[in-house]
Symmetry: C2
Subunit: 174 residues, 2 copies
């Protein structure tokens, strides 16, 4: 079963779009789970920080859970920052069906949104190793879908994603 | 969906019986996963030791995965040592359908089997905090099933479990 991997910097709208997409999949009676980075990090990596090594470990845990689910025919929507191209490729290689969706948004707008107050903490020096500020975010070169979340509404974003999914996986999204 | 929780000291036969049970569920086309403690510990808690706190954290991770699976109608077989009554009760409280199976075996026999060489390490002082030796294992007081793995063969154990499951969950094990 398919993995839908949403990547993008903090505040781009990954979780919002993932949850809105989830609502539509529920309407279509497509069995799925949203493995949200923030939510599962609290359970799976309660003592970890955000170093590259710790991020790698966390991503491996999420991948291992997604394997359990997808092999039981449960689609996985995975909104996680996943800043490096090589690591997103590693994730992709673990699954036969994988759609990478780049939730693209200028950092100035993400910082203005700042839904979790992270940027404020970064600018005041309370939070370090922040992707997009201290650490690089490597934009996807060939994602299956790009969503410009400063241009499209959430609803338009979900419609665009569903259309692409329908083209690529007609058996699932009929 | 049901969680089958196998508890018992190291070497009692939890993994062996879980895997043999899995074979039978596959024959019956019952969707399920075995969440083996040793296997998932390597992925979910790669840097953790075996202190009570670290064991607690690991068990919470396994429970969180089992919730994802069971709410999608996938039965979970969970062979984990889980030494304390209160913690097994915490696990039980997380699920509407829960069967606790006590894989019971005298420690002398577990030590003779020593499938992972743990007891050897414990006796030579290379391994500490070992349940059954340094730390207590609290025997279940009212498990749904008791399997005396020094008396029954693996096949007899699985048959006994299937019979009990059939009584308690006729809709699943028809």
């Amino acid at each position: 079963m398919l993995v839908i991997w949403l990547t993008g910097i903090s505040g781009a709208g990954k979780t919002t779009i993932a949850n809105a997409l989830s609502v539509e999949l529920s309407k279509k009676k497509i069995l799925h789970e949203v493995l949200d980075g923030d939510e599962y990090r609290a359970v799976l990596s309660p003592n970890d920080g955000f170093s590259m090594k710790e991020r790698d470990n966390f991503r491996l845990k999420i991948i291992s859970i997604a394997k359990l689910l997808t092999r039981n025919n449960i689609l996985c929507i995975i909104p996680v920052l996943s800043s490096s191209r090589s690591n997103r490729k590693l994730a992709r290689n673990e699954f036969s069906d994988f759609m990478e969706i780049y939730i693209k948004c200028p950092i100035e707008i993400c910082e203005r949104r700042d839904p979790k107050g992270h940027y404020k903490k970064v600018r005041s020096g309370k939070l370090k190793d922040f992707v997009g500020v201290d650490l690089p975010y490597e934009e996807p070169l060939n994602p299956e879908i790009i969503i410009e979340s400063d241009v499209l509404t959430v609803s338009e974003s979900v419609n665009k994603i569903l259309k692409e999914l329908g083209h690529n996986f007609p058996d699932i999204f009929h």
